[in-house]
């Protein structure tokens, strides 16, 4: 639906303006927030606070509708389990965030600056994403194995694991 894509263009535009107004396109400010044990810049608390509270209120209003304005249905993640990829991925992401001071949004929004570090970061981030997609089957096999042993299980009744499948995937991932 090409014509409806115009509206996601508007959302991306406003998103980028918000990032630059909030100071999140300055990697030094992000590292200043993460530098909590020394000299701390609390800006990001206000950025996240403002964004989360706004989204919380608007999401409740939007979700009263049965469908979005220009799509057939809402696509909202329904998973509730805390699994190893979630935790491990977040740890890796945090290390990269702390090293570079960029997360994906500000990196993409900064591309037009043409700065070598921004382009290098964006390029290697895309490479990392492509590698992660190649690793996915392997990782999910490993997690199923762990889940089957009872680790990380916080209750996800929708996904009952077949013992045979779990054994099969675990042997692949080892």
């Amino acid at each position: 639906m090409i014509r409806y894509s115009f509206f996601s263009f508007l959302s991306g535009l406003l998103f980028a303006l918000g990032l630059s107004v909030s100071g999140m396109t300055e990697p030094g400010k992000v590292i200043g927030f993460l530098n909590i044990t020394r000299s701390w810049d609390p800006s990001l608390v206000f950025v996240m606070g403002g964004a989360v509270i706004t989204y919380f209120i608007l999401f409740r209003l939007i979700h009263k509708r049965s469908a979005p304005l220009f799509a057939l249905q809402f696509s909202i993640p329904e998973r509730k389990d805390i699994d190893l990829p979630l935790l491990g991925g977040a740890v890796l992401f945090g290390i990269g965030w702390g090293l570079g001071g960029f997360c994906p949004g500000p990196a993409v929004a900064s591309i037009f600056t043409g700065k070598p570090n921004v382009l290098l970061f964006a390029g290697s981030m895309i490479l990392g994403m492509v590698i992660a997609d190649q690793l996915r089957p392997l990782l999910s096999g490993k997690t199923k194995h762990l889940l089957n042993q009872g680790f990380w299980k916080t209750g996800n009744p929708d996904k009952k694991l077949e013992p045979a499948t779990a054994t099969g995937t675990s042997s692949n991932s080892n």
Binding site: G18, T37, G50
Partner: protein, 141 residues
């Protein structure tokens, strides 16, 4: 710990703009405004119903370009990170956000804004991991 001088008003105003932009994407296209998910989804497969991803990213790039045109000081980089560090940072962010199904926007804003425990946990973990990284790397020199 010492708290630096900072301006809370632009931070809050920018945050409200980010939250509004994310809510618009949900209202219009029914999608979560997670940048890593939108970009990663585009990289992993293409189909005609992916146009909204491409145009969202185009808006993000052009919006950033316009902001840079008007206020280049908003894009100042004082970190002086070396090539290898930037390369490693980008790789880890790309890997981590895809393996962990989200980044600051997808988990931090949209996920927590939906009261998702999964996203709250992920956010606490990546903020904690980022803080530890900056603790050990020494922060800004």
């Amino acid at each position: 710990m010492e708290i630096l001088e900072f301006s809370w008003l632009p931070a809050l105003a920018g945050g409200i703009m980010i939250g509004t932009a994310s809510a618009l994407l949900m209202a219009f296209n029914g999608r979560v405004a997670g940048i890593s998910g939108i970009l990663g989804g585009l990289l992993s497969r293409w189909s005609p119903d992916q146009w909204w991803r491409l145009t969202f990213l185009l808006g993000l790039v052009l919006g950033g370009g316009a902001a840079y045109h008007w206020a280049p000081e908003a894009f100042i980089d004082i970190t002086e990170n070396g090539t290898m560090q930037v390369l490693a940072a980008g790789l880890l962010v790309g890997l981590g956000t895809r393996i962990g199904s989200g980044c600051t926007s997808g988990h931090g804003v949209c996920g927590i804004g939906r009261l998702s425990i999964r996203s709250l946990v992920a956010t606490l973990v990546f903020v904690g991991s980022g803080m530890l990284t900056v603790f050990f790397s020494g922060g800004l020199q």
